[in-house]
């Protein structure tokens, strides 16, 4: 059933994202063309206005992608599950786990794609011989580091990738649990969701500062002074992954519990 949910979730979101990505591609190409035509003397070429318009449109599209990615993450969960559309979704013979997981997976994929495509597009626009030189030098020194440090470098890169993915999932689940908590407020559900989101942030901030103060006062940080730097980075990243994953798990099961036991569609 999860596979089917994923299929429809991609269908429902793809019809928004794919045209946006296509627009991004078209305007990247267009701007690239203008930039290479003008190459320095915009005033002289008489292409001032089209160049300006194309650039403005391009910036708008990038902003739109960022906004739409966030709005779609919220809307697909809130609107599809907790408004009229929930009448359809929650009468399907599908477990609550599958509902949450399908939404989470699809939202993660679009967020990653939006990020990758936006960065790629900026790279294409910025690409010049100078830029390419710098880039290839950066990649070279990166590869050099791999050769020099070997296994630890692979581990750290792997950990960094995992951390990005876990953070992404946890942030999306943070939104979901806020919306689910808002659902418990009978009359002002959207306000409830916003309140829940800020409250969760506040509590996390509070716990984090307590932890930092305690660690500082308890001279806990000192105990790491003699550690090898690579090991320190490795363990630090691992600890971050674990903490983020634990937070994500709390959000997930909070969302699950509410949707399973406290559902009250209007």
């Amino acid at each position: 059933m999860l596979r089917k949910l994923l299929k429809y979730e991609f269908q429902a979101t793809g019809r928004i994202f794919l045209p946006l990505y296509l627009l991004l591609f078209l305007f990247t190409v267009m701007n690239k063309a203008f930039l290479s035509m003008n190459s320095g003397n915009i005033g002289a070429s008489g292409l001032q206005i089209p160049t300006f318009l194309a650039m403005t449109a391009y910036v708008c599209i990038v902003v739109a992608i960022v906004v739409v990615t966030l709005v779609a993450t919220i809307q697909r969960f809130y609107k599809n599950l907790l408004t009229d559309e929930g009448y359809l979704m929650f009468t399907l013979p599908v477990s609550v786990h599958s509902h949450i997981f399908s939404k989470l997976l699809v939202a993660s994929v679009w967020t990653l794609l939006s990020t990758i495509f936006s960065i790629l597009s900026v790279f294409i626009l910025a690409a010049s011989p100078d830029f390419m030189n710098t880039l290839s030098r950066m990649i070279q020194s990166f590869l050099q580091a791999f050769g020099q440090f070997g296994a630890p470098m692979y581990l750290i890169t792997g950990e960094a990738v995992v951390l990005v993915l876990v953070t992404l999932a946890a942030s999306i689940l943070n939104i979901y649990v806020s919306i689910a908590l808002g659902h418990l407020v009978k009359k002002h559900r959207v306000a409830g969701a916003l309140g829940a989101y800020f409250l969760i942030g506040l509590v996390e901030q509070f716990l984090f500062s307590i932890f930092m103060t305690a660690a500082k006062n308890g001279e806990w940080f000192r105990s790491f002074e003699n550690w090898d730097h690579t090991v320190l980075i490795e363990s630090g990243l691992a600890a971050l992954i674990l903490v983020t994953a634990a937070l994500g798990a709390i959000y997930y099961f909070g969302t699950y519990y509410i949707l399973k036991n406290k559902l009250n569609l209007e």
Binding site: R15, D84, F90, L263, N264, L265
Partner: protein
């Protein structure tokens, strides 16, 4: 025989309002039951509870002996009182959606009914009138071979000609062991297909009876009895 739907002391409150108050009732297999009552008497609340869209405040509700969940949803076909389908989908896409998720869905039946009501499968829901949307919803719901159909106001928004067709569809599509619960206040229209009636009044059961009993013992039609019980 185990009832398909059973409520035991079922209570549901909304902030400042009691929607259902200690409702106990059963729906046997193979019956067409009218869930009748004035506006705000708790009909929709009861049906939504049976679909797991609401959580009971007290008491319990069982579908085939189990609380609403993934298993009960496989055997319950539900028509909400509102339009709940995605506007941007075509009728054909919705048929595929239902066929994908419900093992008991018959595409053949659905297309047959769509054709009979002159609804083209290619049209997007957005472009259809409210009445046509309701017909599409009912066709999707009745194209399943479920054990229990819960129809909330199935004929409220459609014209009288389509009403007859829909009621015929309901009685000709359900199998011997399946039960149908129809909530409505258009009693005279549905009266002829009902086996039993449940009258709800302000969140409580005011009366349960077979239609035959009402006709024979009280010598009244359901519509007359309803007007008597709920006289303002």
């Amino acid at each position: 025989m185990e009832p398909i739907l059973e409520c035991r002391n079922l209570t549901k409150t909304y902030p400042g309002k009691m929607a259902l108050c200690g409702v106990s009732l059963t729906v046997a297999k193979g019956r067409i039951v009218g869930l009748l009552g004035p506006n705000g008497s708790g009909k929709s609340t009861l049906i939504k509870l049976a679909n797991g869209l609401l959580t009971p405040t007290g008491g319990e509700l069982l579908i085939g002996g189990k609380a609403p969940g993934s298993e009960s949803k496989k055997i319950v076909s539900y028509l909400p009182e509102r339009t709940y389908l995605n506007d941007w989908m075509t009728v054909r896409a919705l048929v595929d959606f239902f066929a994908d998720f419900y093992a008991d869905f018959s595409k053949e039946k659905a297309y047959d009914m769509l054709q009979r009501l002159n609804i083209s499968a290619g049209s997007r829901l957005k472009t259809l009138s409210k009445g046509t949307k309701e017909k599409v919803q009912l066709i999707l719901v009745m194209s399943r071979e479920a054990s229990l159909y819960l129809l909330d106001e199935p004929i409220g928004g459609v014209d009288p000609a389509a009403r007859d067709y829909i009621l015929n569809t309901i009685i000709s599509n359900y199998t011997e062991n399946a039960s149908v619960v129809i909530s409505t206040h258009l009693i005279s229209d549905v009266e002829k297909i009902l086996d039993d009636v449940i009258f709800l009044s302000m969140g409580t059961v005011a009366l349960t009876s077979t239609v035959d009993d009402i006709r024979e013992k009280k010598n009244k039609s359901v519509d007359e009895l309803f007007r008597e019980v709920f006289k303002c």
